[in-house]
């Protein structure tokens, strides 16, 4: 099993996003560097639109992720309600 990973800006917009990720992926760990936060999770990490909207308190389009994203590691699957990164091994 390997880690998937996502790195986000360390700003206000991403705060709700990071909170949602940690809530939906309890196995994940965070590494904070100046300017960015790297989140690692074994095998699979899911971002759910609904959880992010609850954290932000407003509607959130999954593609708005592009405004907070710095890097990722893993295979991407994206639709209207979720964004998933996973390894298949």
């Amino acid at each position: 099993m390997s880690n998937v990973s996502i790195t986000l800006y360390n700003n206000d917009e991403s705060r709700g996003l990071i909170a949602a990720i940690l809530k939906d992926n309890p196995a994940s760990t965070t590494m904070r560097m100046p300017g960015v936060v790297k989140i690692d999770c074994p095998n699979k990490l899911t971002i759910l639109r609904e959880t992010v909207e609850n954290e932000l308190g407003r509607p959130w389009d999954v593609q708005q992720l592009h405004m907070s994203l710095v890097s990722l590691s893993g295979m991407v699957d994206e639709d209207d309600d979720y964004f998933t990164i996973a390894w298949n091994h």
């Binding site: 390997s2 880690n3 300017g35 592009h66 590691s73 295979m75 994206e78 209207d80």
Partner: protein
């Protein structure tokens, strides 16, 4: 009569309509004439419709998000200029990393823009062409925003005045130029594996995450902002590279051997370029995020390990030189730094010896072997400086025929011995810094015998003359301003006067 609103299409449906509806089957031209480069590399594709871009960006959302990124970035750049952001960085030394970035990396972004424009024309799948065209525009945006950000520093600091001219001529910049020239002159599939996969997926994280985080740590608002703005596009580029390689491997079992050869080649080509980044991270950032070796472990061994674990089911293995790169990890930044320190008279940026505190940090990061090998050298150079005899190497180095880096790397298992390899081809002997570069040459000798090697060009009289003064003029390296040690430079004098002004306030 009842009126129902048309149902909004889902993301997946919108993307399917965009990429299937845009293409058509030609009726009066052969497909091979429309896409003449699609077959010569030997990659076999059974069904082009199998390719789907997982980010599923339609054109309208692409423009929307890119415009928003630009608005945010330029607001920061305006504010940085208006508020004299250049005075708030940690130390004047820091700007030297920007001099390397602007002369080496920024023109590389432009080269990537050209390469993806070629790909956006040459691949016979509309989803891949759209993704490549978006990437081509992204790379152009990166080059432009980097030039714009650095132009503010150019008003005050030396060494930022001729980046484009120097990129095509100066000895250490030919390393990056030859890398992208090599990639752009290959076929579309090799380019995709070289830049889209090997460089973007495996290596650019090292440049844009820990290094840019370092810019944030050193108070450089403008660089961290363009850096992360660019990297937000890279996530899309990385995903394209990964989807492309999976697609190629799934199409035909014969493709794996060709792809493996390209992975081996482009991992090593890209890794060699990163030597300068290792130096920037370990020796040039006044405040450091993490040692090069730690970044290498996180982004190559951990992330790369997971990636190659996933590709194993196609028969794809780790690059064949990964083990050598790991052996070099504790000394890469130091071997590079010691070379640039000796070549300070012939470089467009300043070098300097690390302080006692910095040497302690390095020793802690790299351990007793590092201390045994390198502390005496730093001590020796410091003694020479104390006597007013800063060592500058007056000779021209031998360059590797493939990576074009001077021969300063050591044997994988013996860091006290310079690594030399050579091959005779058509009666001429060619020299290499490593087994990796030698194997690349032997795979395509007819390509690499044409290399434009800066030292050979000087010897042939193509670089303004035979003396260092003439060569520096040809490079547009302003003697006494852009070059030599940071200590005693006009940059240092200016920085100290800013600091003195700051201390006067309120006293």
């Amino acid at each position: 009569m009842s009126v129902t609103a048309p149902k909004k299409l889902s993301l997946k449906e919108r993307y399917r309509i965009l990429t299937r509806g845009l293409d058509w089957t030609p009726t009066y031209q052969e497909p091979a004439k429309i896409f003449p480069h699609a077959e010569f590399e030997g990659i076999k594709i059974r069904d082009w419709d199998g390719f789907v871009d997982p980010f599923r960006l339609t054109m309208d959302s692409y423009w929307k998000y890119q415009a928003e990124k630009e608005r945010k970035l330029y607001a920061v750049l305006d504010s940085f200029q208006q508020n004299n952001g250049q005075t708030a960085i940690t130390d004047g030394r820091y700007v030297n990393v920007l001099k390397i970035f602007l002369t080496a990396i920024t023109p590389g972004e432009y080269q990537a823009h050209r390469g993806f424009a070629m790909l956006g024309r040459q691949v016979p799948n509309v989803g891949l062409r759209i993704a490549a065209q978006m990437q081509s525009l992204d790379e152009l945006r990166h080059a432009q925003t980097q030039i714009h950000s650095c132009s503010h520093y150019n008003k005050y600091f030396d060494g930022l005045h001729s980046f484009s001219y120097q990129h095509d001529r100066v000895w250490y910049l030919s390393v990056v130029k030859s890398f992208f020239d090599d990639a752009r002159t290959s076929g579309p599939f090799e380019f995709l594996i070289a830049i889209g996969f090997s460089f973007e997926y495996v290596l650019t994280n090292l440049l844009f995450v820990p290094f840019m985080s370092g810019a944030a740590y050193n108070g450089d608002l403008s660089t961290v902002t363009f850096g992360f703005s660019a990297q937000s596009d890279e996530s899309r580029h990385m995903t394209l590279g990964l989807e492309a390689i999976k697609f190629i491997l799934e199409q035909h079992e014969d493709n794996a051997a060709i792809v493996q050869k390209w992975i081996d080649k482009w991992f090593w080509r890209g890794y060699r370029i990163l030597a300068i980044l290792a130096m920037m991270m370990d020796y040039m950032l006044p405040k450091r995020i993490m040692p090069w070796k730690d970044a290498w472990d996180i982004y190559f061994n951990e992330a790369g390990g997971a990636l190659f674990g996933d590709l194993a089911r196609y028969g794809i293995k780790m690059p064949n030189t990964a083990e050598v790169a790991n052996k070099e990890a504790f000394r890469l930044s130091t071997e590079t730094m010691l070379t640039f320190y000796q070549m300070g008279h012939a470089s467009g940026f300043h070098s300097w010896l690390p302080s006692e505190d910095e040497l302690k940090w390095l020793a802690e990061a790299y351990g007793p072997e590092w201390e045994r090998l390198y502390l005496p050298r730093f001590k020796y150079f410091r003694e020479l400086e104390a006597k007013g005899e800063h060592y500058y190497n007056p000779s021209l180095p031998q360059l590797c025929q493939v990576c074009q880096i001077p021969m300063f790397f050591t044997e994988p298992d013996d860091p006290t011995k310079i690594c030399f390899r050579d091959t005779v081809y058509n009666g001429d002997r060619y020299h290499f810094c490593s087994d990796g570069c030698q194997h690349i040459f032997e795979g395509e000798p007819e390509k690499y015998v044409q290399a434009w090697l800066p030292v050979h060009q000087v010897m042939q009289g193509n670089c303004g003359g035979a003396t260092i003064d003439e060569i520096r003029k040809y490079w547009r390296v302003e003697d006494g301003e852009d070059n030599y040690d940071y200590v005693g430079s006009p940059d240092e004098t200016m920085w100290k006067s800013w600091q003195a002004d700051r201390l006067k306030v309120g006293s």
